[in-house]
Structures are given as C-alpha cells and as structure tokens.
C-alpha cells in the first residue's frame, strides 16, 4: 500500500484495477466508489495560531444491484481482502432487500433498475495558481496579518482568520453481467477562506464575518483573490463596531434588498430543498422533511415572478459544487429549473427520475465514501437581471438592504421560513441612510418568490457556496454552490432584535 499522505492514491497505486478486480460480474450491476481526501485546516484566533489540523480520509463504498435488491458496504480497508469482505456484505444486503425495495413510478411497480450505463470520463478543478506556490509559512503569515487587522479595538472581544484547503479525488468503477465497464475519475481542489470579528458592549454582541462561509470555491490560491480575502478584514472589524451603536432594525411590511451572501440561504432553503425529488417522493419525511411542491406542478406552477430564472449548473468554473459526473456516474449538465418564474424541473438523480417519472438532473451525491448517494443540490444559481444595485436602491421608499446570513429556519415542507442577517442598511426614499442591527424577515416560500421585484445585473453576481447542507438518513453534510446577484423583494414582513 502506498504512502497515502504524500500523493493522491490514483497516482501511486493501481487502485482502479484493484477495485475493478474486486467487483463481482455475476450481478446485474456493481460499483466501487473511492473517495480520497487530504485537507489542511489553519486558524489564527486573537493573534494566536490555533493547532494546525490535517485530515486524511480514504475509503470506498461497494454497491451491488441484483434481482431487484440493492446493498452497499463502506470500508477503509482497500486491500484485496478488505474489498472482498465489503463486496460480500453488499451482496448480502442486495439479497436481503430483493423484493422489499421502494418501487418504481408507483408503488407496486417493478423495483428500481440499476444505472443503465457504465460511465467513462474525467474532471479536474480549474486551478490558476497552484497551492504549492504558497508555502505553509506564507499561509500562516497571511492569517496572522488578517488577524492583526481584525482585532483593532478593545470592544472587539473575539476575532479569527481561517484557511482550509481540501484536495479530493474520487474514482467510480462499474461492472456488471453485461460485461461492460465504466471508470470516472475526478479531482477536486477546494479553498475555504474565512474570518470574523465579534464586538461587545454590555448585553449587545454583534459579529461580522467574511460572507458567513459563503465565499469558498474550487481552485488554488487564486480563490483568495477571487473573494478579496486580503482586503476584507478592516471592513469586517469596522462594521462589527458600527453595529454596536446602530439602531435596531425596524419592524413592518416593507421592501428588502438581499445581498448575494444572504441570497445564498434564501435560494438554498426555499428553492433548492423544496425541489429535491427524493423529498417529494417522501424519503426525507422522518428527518429533513417534505416539500410543498408536488409532481403535478412541474411545467406549470408559478414559483416566482417573471424575473426569476434559476439554473442547476455544475459546469460553472470554480464554483463549489461543479463536477463532471455525479456519484451514480450521470454526466453533469446545466438545466433550467425555473424559467421566467415557471417551475420546469426538479433536483433528482437517475434513481429519483425512475421512481417519479419526472425529469431531473445529475445530482446524486454522497458526502464521502461512508455514505450512499442521495439527491442533493449542487450549484443552484439565480441568473442575473438587468438592474444596477443603485437602481434597485433608488426604487425602494421604505426598506432594508440585508447582508450576510446569520440565522435560518424553515418548516418541514419548506414553506414558512425566517432568516436573520448580520448587517442591515436602512433605505428611505431611495437612499441608504445608515446601518441597522439584527435585521430579519419571515415569509412563506410558496408566495415569497412572486414578490421578487428586482434582480441586479452581473456586477453584483457572486459565485459562492455553503459547506454544510445537512440531509439524509444516514445524515450527510455536503457543500452546495449558489451564485446570485442582489435581489429585491416587496411587501415582506421585516423585524429587528429584542429592544
């Protein structure tokens, strides 16, 4: 076995061949999905380096479809013996579940068929500036520099600058009775910069962050410049202090302008999750919930105003959830989910498409080697419009411009939601007149998007993501991408914090 810490497994071990040799060929379909991650987590808090942490996570999941049954077994033992043991376990589960699987387009229909293809292909994250061009001591110095810029006032009681880099290689190998073979190799490079400043006076504590973890993506060191990591610390510290003396956000029904780093959560919670086909099929009802969206709505339901155009797009260079193939091997393509406000298509991979009879996308994803793939968001984006930010502000007589999510809550059908943001700006008669603290708003997804009355242009369009979407039984945390411009919504219930 190679030294997995010094180089990716692909490059130094005949792993594809070992996986393929382990797979049985006397079953309808078999796959081995390898996941190999090397990560480094750096953090400087209050000008002190916190312990560096390195993560090396490698394992494989064997999945076997046979005679209407499906089973999986996940193992970190990638020796021939370890893989053989996992194959037998997966085969056992396929036998146990045959005849008892959730069915096809209607209950009582034939069990789900295995994937119809043996995919082949590759994907590699686009990298402009290799990570190795920034040695560890340079990375540490960058964080120390940002930390010094954050902790600038005695009222700033806590502050930190963080940097995580993840390299993830995946390999999907497939075989079956048909004698065909597939192999998909994908290599991902992720960079997650972060920082925060917390200010306090008495019982008033305010925190500002670097996009609340939304500013992250695929690439190398250029990701830092993409999001302005080197220029944000002073603004973050200043705004945390500003919020201490800012008035409370007013309450009432008014317009809101949501910055891209709040649109991330609005899109995620009230478009992404409701459109997941496995939720619509009832799989998540014990945990993450269902959806107000029903199958008959696709193709006709008015989800939002004419200004709303939403795409599933795993082809955006550098976005967090871009890939070439999902974890069932379906090739990734861009699809419109909502066009001019009308719901077109759901977020469901090959299995959900079979079960529902609905069109979907290539979004069957697993968080790691030890979790089976399920329907997940990947990159879910609101397409830019034609208005400038200045035009949108000028159009608001009474409203709040809200930046950076810091709280999110929604019901189990993805309808009644409530969000809070870190930083608000009061808009009166078309002008920003000052900061407000604790801005929040609530609404109902089914109506909210029809109140979309302005979409900013490409100048504010920001490609972002969120690292911690939780769903599934077994539970899985995965990153999703969300790109959006600033957006204006009218007649929204707005509130502030406790006075």
């Amino acid at each position: 076995m190679t030294d997995l810490l010094s180089a990716p497994l692909f490059d130094t071990a005949p792993i594809a061949e070992r996986l393929r040799n382990a797979l049985p060929t006397d079953v309808d379909y078999a796959s081995a999905r390898l996941f190999d991650e090397r990560s480094e987590h750096l953090s400087v808090r209050q000008n002190n380096l916190e312990p560096i942490f390195n993560e090396f996570d490698t394992g494989a999941m064997i999945s076997i479809w046979n005679d209407g049954g499906l089973g999986y077994a996940a193992t970190a033992d990638l020796s021939s013996a370890g893989l053989a043991k996992a194959v037998e376990r997966a085969r056992h589960w396929a036998g146990v579940t045959a005849g008892h699987m959730v069915g096809g387009q209607s209950q009582g229909a034939a069990a789900i068929a295995p994937p119809p293809h043996h995919p082949t292909g590759t994907y590699t994250s686009p990298v402009e500036v290799g990570w190795d061009s920034m040695p560890l001591d340079d990375r540490l110095e960058l964080l120390h520099q940002q930390s010094r810029l954050l902790g600038i006032d005695d009222r700033i009681v806590d502050w930190a600058a963080r940097l995580t880099r993840r390299s993830v290689d995946t390999l999907l190998v497939t075989t079956g009775k048909d004698g065909e073979r597939g192999e998909v190799q994908q290599r991902f490079e992720f960079v997650y910069p972060g920082m925060r400043a917390t200010a306090n006076e008495g019982v008033n504590t305010q925190t500002r962050t670097f996009g609340a973890n939304a500013f992250r993506g695929q690439g190398g060191a250029e990701v830092l410049g993409r999001y302005g990591f080197g220029d944000a610390a002073s603004r973050i510290a200043d705004e945390a202090l500003e919020l201490l003396t800012a008035p409370n956000c007013p309450s009432g029904v008014m317009d809101i302008l949501l910055a891209p780093d709040q649109m991330v959560l609005q899109i995620h919670e009230s478009i992404g999750h409701p459109l997941e086909l496995d939720r619509i099929l009832g799989d998540e009802r014990n945990y993450a919930g269902t959806s107000f969206v029903t199958p008959d709505m696709f193709g006709s339901f008015r989800y939002g105003s004419d200004l709303l155009n939403v795409t599933f797009d795993p082809t955006v260079p550098g976005q967090l959830a871009s890939y070439g193939f999902d974890d069932d091997g379906s090739p990734a393509t861009k699809q419109h989910l909502i066009e001019s406000g009308i719901l077109q298509r759901g977020l469901g991979g090959a299995v959900s498409q079979q079960r529902s009879g609905l069109q979907g996308v290539s979004n069957s994803r697993a968080a790691s080697w030890n979790r089976p793939p399920i329907d997940r968001m990947a990159n879910l984006n609101v397409e830019p419009g034609d208005s400038t930010i200045e035009e949108l502000v000028a159009s608001i007589e009474d409203g709040v411009y809200m930046h950076t999510n810091n709280s999110w809550s929604i019901d189990d059908s993805r309808n009644k939601f409530q969000f809070n943001c870190e930083y608000g700006q009061r808009i009166e008669n078309g002008e920003v007149v000052g900061a407000v603290r604790n801005p929040g708003y609530r609404g109902i997804s089914r109506n909210f998007w029809t109140n979309l009355t302005g979409v900013a242009d490409t100048d504010s369009f920001t490609v972002m993501g969120t690292p911690n979407c939780g769903k599934g039984e077994l539970n899985q945390m995965i990153g999703t991408g969300h790109a959006s411009p600033a957006c204006k919504f009218s007649d929204i219930e707005v509130f502030g914090g406790e006075s």
């Binding site: 076995m1 997995l4 010094s6 002190n48 380096l49 312990p51 560096i52 942490f53 390195n54 993560e55 090396f56 996570d57 499906l70 089973g71 999986y72 077994a73 996940a74 193992t75 970190a76 033992d77 370890g82 997966a90 589960w93 146990v96 579940t97 008892h100 699987m101 959730v102 009681v157 917390t198 306090n200 019982v203 504590t205 925190t207 009832g282 799989d283 009802r285 014990n286 269902t290 030890n370 979790r371 399920i374 709280s407 809550s409 019901d411 189990d412 409530q418 809070n420 604790n438 929040g440 609530r442 939780g470 039984e473 077994l474 539970n475 899985q476 945390m477 509130f495 914090g497 406790e498």
Partner: protein, 455 residues
Amino acid sequence: MSSITATQASASTERQAYFDELVTSATATLQGDEVLLANLAGEATDFIRLNNNDVRQAGSVDQQKLSVDLIEGQRHVGGTINLTGDRSMDDARVTALLTTLRDQRRLVPEDPYLLYNTEPSSTNNVKTGDIPTPDAALADIRTAGQGKDLVGIYASGDTFHGFANSLGQRNWFQSSTFNLDWCFYLQADKAAKNLYAGFDWNDDAFASKIDWSSQQLTALARDPKVLDPGDYRTYLAPRAMEEVMSLLSYYGAFGRRAHETKQTPFLKMLAGDATLSEKVSISENTAGGVAPNFQSSGFIRPDAVQLIVDGKLNDTLVSPRSAQEYGVATNGAHGGEYPESMAIAPGTIPTSGVAEALDTGLFVGNLWYTNFSDLSACRTTGMTRFATFWIDSGEIVAPVSVLRFDDTAFNMLGDRLEGLTDTAEVLLDPSTYMERSTASARLPGALLSDMRFVL
C-alpha cells in the same frame, strides 16, 4: 452472556488490543521529548432506511478514524487518518502521519493554551447489547409497519472510542446499541414520530411504541385546526424541549469560551439582567449518559457538572484550551464545550396528567429547525412538527397545522414556566453525521403559561 454479546465483547477486546499495539509502536518511534496523544473513533454499523414501509437503502459502514496530536514542549500539530485493520498498512500510515506533523511543527510557535493530562488515568467501559440481526430487525419493523406508511432509519452495531498517550494512559469505550428512528405518516405534514433505541431489543417494548404511534395517528386524522399568530398556553414534550436545549447548547449557552467572549445566548444572565425559573436545574450528567467519560486530551470527565442550579448560572463546560486561556480548571469538556449528556431535573407535574395540567392550549410533541432570531437576547425561533395538538379542557380536539414560534428562552424557561413534568425521558441521539452519536439527554416536559407564535 449470549453469543451475540460474547461476539461484541470479543470484538471490543480485539479492537482495544489493536489500538494499544498501534500506539505502543508509534510511541517507540517518538523523538526526543515528544509526547503523543491518540484518539480512536470507530463504528461497525448496519443501516436500513425505509420509506412507505419498503427499503430505500440498506448497507454497512465499517470505519475507524485515528486522530493524533504530536507534541514537543509547547509546540504541537494534529492530524487524522483512517485505519484499515491491516497492521502493516496502519503502521505505515501512522509513521507517515507523524513525519508530516513533525515537518509542520517546525514552523509553528509555542501554543500558550496547550494542556493535556499528564497523570495517567486509565478506564475501560464496554456495554454489550442484545441486538437482533439486521435481517431479523428488518422483518420485525416491516411487520409492525404493515398497512402503514413507515418512514425512518434503523441503525445497529458497535460504536467505540479510545484514548491512548505515550505516558501510558489507556481509555476504552464500546457500546453495542440499536436505534430505530421512525414516523408513521398519515398525510401531508401529519405524522406520529417515535424512537426505539437502547442496548437490549425487547419485543414487548417495541410493540408498546408501535401502539402509541398508532394511537397518535388516530388523533392526527381529525380535521386540523389552523391557529392565528398569537400567544398560547403550551406544553413542550421532552422531544420538543430537546430541540430548544440543543440550540442553546450548540451556540454556547454552557461553554466557557462563549461566556468569556460574550457570545453566549445567556449573555443577559451573565450580566445579571435575567435568570431562568428556579424550577430549572441543568447538568452535564456524564455518569447517566451513554457517551465516553474521557476526552481527547486524556482528561476524565466528572460524573456531573452542575451548569444551572435553581435557574441561576453555576458552572460552565471548560475544555483544556479554555482552562489555559481563562485561568480556570478544566472539567473534561471537549473543544465544542456543549453537553453530550444533558439532564434537566424533573418537576412536579404528573407526566400522566399533562393534558389535565395544560387544560386548554397547545400540546407540542416536537419542534424543528430551531435557530436564533437574536442570540444576545436568547431569542429563538423554530417550527412545530409532527404531533402538535389543540387540547381543550384536557382532551385532544384536533391536530394543529404547523406554526412558527419566536420567543426568548428567558420567557419559555423563565417566568412563563409553570412547571416541569415529574419524570425525565431518556432520549438517545439518532444523529449519524460522520458517525453515530453517543449523545443523550434526560429531559422532562415543560408547561408554559404562554408561548409566542408568529406565523
């Protein structure tokens, strides 16, 4: 000892021995005055996911993660790898990891907040369980769900944790458990949720849970009541309390660092501007829970830490780093400084008489997706979910369509708290993010004179 439990005990012994040998080998490679801390977290679990009483996905996960901290003086760097179970492969991986950490450590300064246990205190805790085979469990569950829309997940197997250091300390914990987390769905958002979890499967106990859920379905079938936003007299069942307490815990209600940096939702309590009701006493009850009693720096946790006593702040969870940073003693908390074995002392409202005590108002069986609408003020929001009923004169009248609440914990557990039930329900955490959770809570239900619902 049955053959099942004998197998579990034998597996535990083998895993423990393997971990011990690995760390002993690694210790032999240490250079100079290096100190090694090693933590093992693993499981061998079978999972069955169900929808409409059929199988959605079923399989097994075997994993062992070894995390190490390599220390020289006050400088240290950490890392984690998977173990394969093959000794030569794992020795090679550990050696490679230590080499990487040594290289990085040359670049790091002394850590002023490094603290680890230097007085070895070894423990061994193995809890076996009489668990059915997954095949048998699947058959029993599907039989119980016949004719019903059963959705949920069954997990069973061994979870194990170990600590070892180069100073000779060895701590081991293994538990063999099952956890069935499920709903019977009626329609739309109407469902009866239940949990059957423990060490020893008992057919009668399972049947009793199924009966309870079936009865809930009958009540859920009545015409729903839609309530307008407003303040309502409310009973929060233990599972609903768990949502509120988890939110408070995770965001620093009980953590030392959050208190010191004014980021705790209990900020007003710290400032003397608020208290909880004197009926509320909260502890981190490690002795009464199912989590390991040791933490990643080798400190042994006390049996209990009294966090809130009679409504007032009494103590916090202090990790070793916080102990060094703030000049206090550690009480064995992990780095997140939130409870893993929370217990709220029961009160005096008879658990069997909750409906009568409520009289007229909302019975909230579960809450969902709680978060803060103003963290500094401890103002929380979330949704009702599953079995929420309107009670009139002590009788169930109708299920209630989902409602959003937005209220402060200082109200809910403060002057609006009329009382707690006289028994605390044991709730084992079914979470499986990255690994099966060993957290638990012992919580009573809470009767509130009113609670604010906003949508």
